[in-house]
Symmetry: C2
Subunit: 261 residues, 2 copies
């Protein structure tokens, strides 16, 4: 499939902001189907991207598709389709390995056609995430850091209190991660929709310099009206749309609630 020249080498952050504005939607579709048959999984995923593309601003993929379909086969087909429809794609791989492996992971996802990856700031900079930022900057791709995840157990790590041995001051882990996102110039941070108060707090630290991406609305328990008011920039929604009786109607309703909050 040929790519239009104006769709290649786009800066991820500007591209998704533009798409959000043009389509009147800040919903990123999380394409997390759990259909056991790979052929059906691929077909259903294609159909959903095509049907919903006018009403969303991006598509997020996870291991739900990469492992059964293969990166350079099924997933690549879906990425080509996503790009042809003018949407940026995010690989939610939550990179957290040593530098050489991180670079290898990012290299493959970008080569297949992804526009951004997610990564875990816990892993640190030197010989760690520096390699992810390096390759992403080289290729004009985006890095989205996990600052506070959406699941219940997230409090164990993201809300733990960390003591700075030099100043003796104590900070919440998510405050440290938000500061790192600023320092490393991340293109986005993930803060779970299940923790609207944290979105509010982290927004204050970021001061509008880095967009917030919030997963966890619907099935995971996040309340969209509350989250919309807490000023997330993007909403990552999967199962609540994928398994709705009428997915288009579902996305439209989400857009309406967000746009009027």
């Amino acid at each position: 499939m040929m790519l239009c020249a104006d769709m290649t080498n786009k800066n991820f952050r500007r591209w998704i902001a533009k798409t959000k504005k043009e389509r009147g939607s800040n919903i990123i579709l999380a394409l997390d189907y759990t259909i056991p048959n790979p052929r059906e999984l691929l077909l259903q995923s294609k159909k959903t991207i095509e049907t919903l593309s006018p009403h969303i601003c991006g598509v997020k993929f996870n291991r739900h598709l990469v492992l059964p379909l293969g990166l350079y086969s099924g997933v690549k087909e879906l990425l080509d389709l996503t790009r042809t429809l003018g949407l940026p794609s995010i690989m939610d791989c939550k990179i957290n390995d040593i530098g050489s492996t991180n670079r290898m992971i990012a290299h493959h996802y970008y080569t297949a056609g992804f526009d951004a990856v997610t990564a875990n700031p816990f892993i640190g900079w030197e010989d760690g995430l520096n390699q992810v930022f390096k390759i992403s900057n080289e290729l004009n791709k985006g890095v989205i850091l996990l600052v506070y995840m959406s699941h219940k157990g997230a409090v164990e790590g993201y809300a733990q209190r960390v003591k700075n041995p030099n100043t003796n001051k104590v900070y919440f882990q998510y405050q440290i991660f938000a500061e790192k996102a600023l320092k490393w110039d991340a293109d986005g941070v993930v803060v779970g929709a299940t923790y609207p108060q944290k979105i509010f707090e982290i927004n204050k630290i970021l001061n509008g310099k880095i967009p917030i991406y919030s997963p966890g609305i619907g099935v995971q328990g996040g309340n969209i009206e509350l989250v919309a008011k807490s000023r997330s920039d993007y909403f990552i929604i999967g199962r609540s749309i994928l398994y709705a009786k009428d997915p288009i109607q579902s996305v439209r309703k989400f857009n309406e609630i967000i746009n009027t909050s």
Copy 2:
């Protein structure tokens, strides 16, 4: 390829300990080739597994192979071969996602034939790693937790000081992770060979109840004699063997040093 009955449904932890004893080696080969051509990558990986299998006790895979070869195609072929040669296989996927995704990731790796996965304890238990332990226990597979990684930036997270808000006591992050490994009954913990003093300390916490796996020897700077004395149970070695002039000679030499330390 048919599997011998006595090689299926083995308990990972006992199996790798038995292989270590029988082959006189506690080296786990990290099959992290970076050969760009997928066909060559697959052939070279097969050749290496076959050649080195008598001198190692397990094989560790990473995204270096999964992303270009595909899990259910090339990697599955390598897993069948590894199992036929009597060796357990570890997928170093460093799981760190929400519960439903963690379960999906582990499900695919186990279905393809892996015997254990690595996971990041930072992600927490509830609706997090509980799902990895659940599926692993159901299928008699192993979970290896990252307690202190091998790269330079590991100090940022793994060596940070965490304050318990109830007791006001301060602990190192790796101490908390080692305690979680005990509480959750992990089958192994990863502690970088580049931090031999930490291996020694973590060994004291674990008190021989959970084996330590140490990556980072050779290319990453870990000194094998020093690490062998600090009492790691398994050594994960990749590039130092894969890119040696004579890989068999290289593995034999590592075995000799470890067995006489």
